[in-house]
Symmetry: C2
Subunit: 404 residues, 2 copies
């Protein structure tokens, strides 16, 4: 067999560890006698369509490791969702460059692209091994215990709420932070791991797995504020009413829409501001602060779970091993073993492609505004080592001498 | 002399290291044979007024060190700006508890409170040593090279822009992030330390030291976007027009106001959203994302400059030494020695109280949308060790085989 030429691309929203997977593929390819050349496509599938490719073969090992530690998609990414015609054009480029393996790091849309290309290659009898490598901070891939990128984003959310809750204790009021995740609430739920003592925030969480009722929201905040004199709230950007209409488009009708007509959820503070206005207007609480974590959740340099880094690298490595040894295309998936180790399997592309996982019912507290202990057990090992501490004073009050 | 009883309080916005200063005072007091008891006031000066005090003497050394590493104001803070009558009531409480030293950790408003209490104590011949301990993420205290809290907040801004710029390279568009600092642009300017290569973001910064012209802003973004196909912008929350009117109240007239009638700058995404709308509407650029870093800048757990931690502890330690040895009240101030060490002096309270430092002219680039090399030399040593890296691929393009 002649030495192989392989191609890798990155799709969808970048993460803090998506370059680990890129490095994992590159370095596993170097360790394989069968593979000679590694190409990377600029800006995801669009780079394949445009024949905008880089030859990664000359990158040094040391430099690839540095790139792996950097957030963002080093090859560039895309929001393109290729249809059959788009994929046929991609296949022409893959054939022209005699590519033997196509690796695509991304979410369920990217898995669907890999599925289409895989079918087209087989239909045209072109020998192409197609492997999807999982990535998404939303943790919404079916068939995976969790997905690379999620643990680091979850860690960001935990560290953010750890500090925000202490800040809210210092200057009491209501604090509402909007967290990413259009359909799956894992990242919003991660905020609960910032708690240490019973009265710690976040005191309420609102997930896209539950219908959001603005009346109930105001009543919930009122109850916590009356009890503690403060309230910290985590809200998923994807909260919606019973008909599935995003709350941001109901409370802030001027919010931006994307070309598909979907309300823009990220890159705007509209939802947090609208929810704060509800609290301020309805409850008359003075200190109400809204915040939208936004892109920092997936890109903040220096906030990463070491467990996530390692696994993101390994899914890349294992993708190459599967491509060389398996007799079919597929999606690398993460399986949990005990508390805590992981193993990797090659799922069929149909398992993952275009499907969306949401939080399993047993992870959500019956109240709908909290998680269960099972969620804590699920997330804790993913957050990695060296989480910062949040300690309070334990000093005793001084007896009063004046009548005040 | 009988053993002394001292009191400490924390005021204004918390920081990532304000508890270091608290610990610094507590531990220096323990090392002094003259001091026997350390009280802390809950929620700043309000806790003195309300006689809401804690006895910190029984806190363990180990626990105080843990508290020191936690963000937020461990004693609680306040936005109260005491007048003479308020201070007279405070003084009654200080006298009732036979307090010999009053330490107040805070910004220029807190320094002013210390000044008033100091004058009243002297006027009533009550022997009270009053020491202001500097703290502010805005870095706007006169007479200080920099102030504890600023370096850690600056580090957050640098790490945020390092990641945001890589994210923006991955999925090109316009990214506008609003940074804290009502009057002083130091924190916004810190974003420029995220750059590594000439085309790196942030490409434009807008400081409160300069008049903000919305027309010029749109033209600036257009020019960068045409040159690079993307644009990363850092905007101070305090940007204003020639008359000093905040831009947020001009572009987003429905923005919230505080009880003093000032437009609320933090805890809302209004300014970022309004600026993004300008770009979208005027330039027709599709991918425009706005973000407001908000409270994470001062509270994010686990993002701290070790230099800042050390200095914040030391200003607390030195405050106690000054109180015991100096023959007057004052404000502990940080002086830079070479590149890079610091020394501490006891400035008069009048030097600091109620005055606001802004960025010195030689730190701002003539364009008004960038900083000078002098600013980089100023900030770099404050950011601390172990800043995360941001590396790009260096691979060569692959020759095209298809005519595309």
């Amino acid at each position: 067999m002649p030495p192989l030429k392989i191609l890798i691309a990155q799709g969808g929203g970048p993460t803090a560890v998506i370059n680990q997977s890129l490095a994992g593929v590159c370095l596993a390819a170097r360790h394989s006698a069968a593979i000679e050349t590694v190409y990377g496509a600029r800006y995801g599938v669009r780079g394949i369509l445009n024949e905008d490719l880089l030859d990664l073969t000359s990158e040094t090992f040391t430099h690839l490791e540095s790139v792996a530690r950097s957030p963002g998609a080093a090859l560039g990414s895309t929001r393109d969702k290729p249809d059959a015609a788009y994929c046929r054009e991609m296949l022409k480029v893959l054939k022209a460059h005699e590519i033997s393996h196509f690796y695509y790091i991304g979410g369920n849309d990217s898995a669907d692209t890999v599925r289409i290309v895989s079918e087209q290659a087989r239909a045209s009898a072109y020998p192409l091994r197609c492997i999807h490598i999982p990535k998404t901070i939303d943790n919404d891939l079916v068939g995976n215990d969790h997905t690379p990128g999620f643990p680091s984003a979850a860690r960001f959310v935990v560290q953010a709420f750890t500090g925000a809750a202490l800040d809210n204790e210092s200057l009491p009021g209501v604090y509402v932070a909007v967290v990413m995740g259009r359909h799956a609430g894992f990242l919003t739920a991660a905020s609960t791991l910032a708690r240490r003592l019973p009265a710690d925030g976040p005191h309420l969480i609102y997930l896209p797995e539950r219908t959001f009722d603005p009346e109930r929201f105001v009543a919930d905040v009122k109850a916590v504020h009356e009890r503690l004199g403060r309230c910290v709230v985590a809200v998923s950007e994807g909260v919606h009413d019973a008909a599935g209409v995003p709350i941001v488009s109901k409370l802030a009708p001027t919010a931006e829409r994307d070309p598909h007509g979907n309300v823009q959820l990220s890159g705007t503070g509209a939802l947090a501001d609208a929810l704060c206005a509800q609290i301020r207007d309805r409850l008359g609480i003075k200190r109400v602060r809204g915040e939208t974590f936004g892109y920092l959740q997936r890109s903040f340099a220096g906030c990463v779970s070491d467990v996530d880094q390692r696994e993101a690298f390994e899914v890349g490595e294992r993708a190459v091993r599967f491509a060389l040894s398996a007799d079919r295309d597929g999606s690398v998936s993460i399986k949990r073993v005990g508390q805590y180790a992981v193993d990797y399997e090659l799922a069929t592309l149909e398992t993952v492609a275009g499907r969306t996982r949401v939080m399993e019912e047993h992870l959500i507290d019956p109240s709908g505004t909290d998680v269960t202990d099972a969620f804590h057990a699920y997330l804790q090992p993913l957050l990695g080592s060296g989480l910062p501490e949040a300690q309070r004073l334990r000093a005793a009050p001084v007896a009063k001498r004046l009548k005040r």
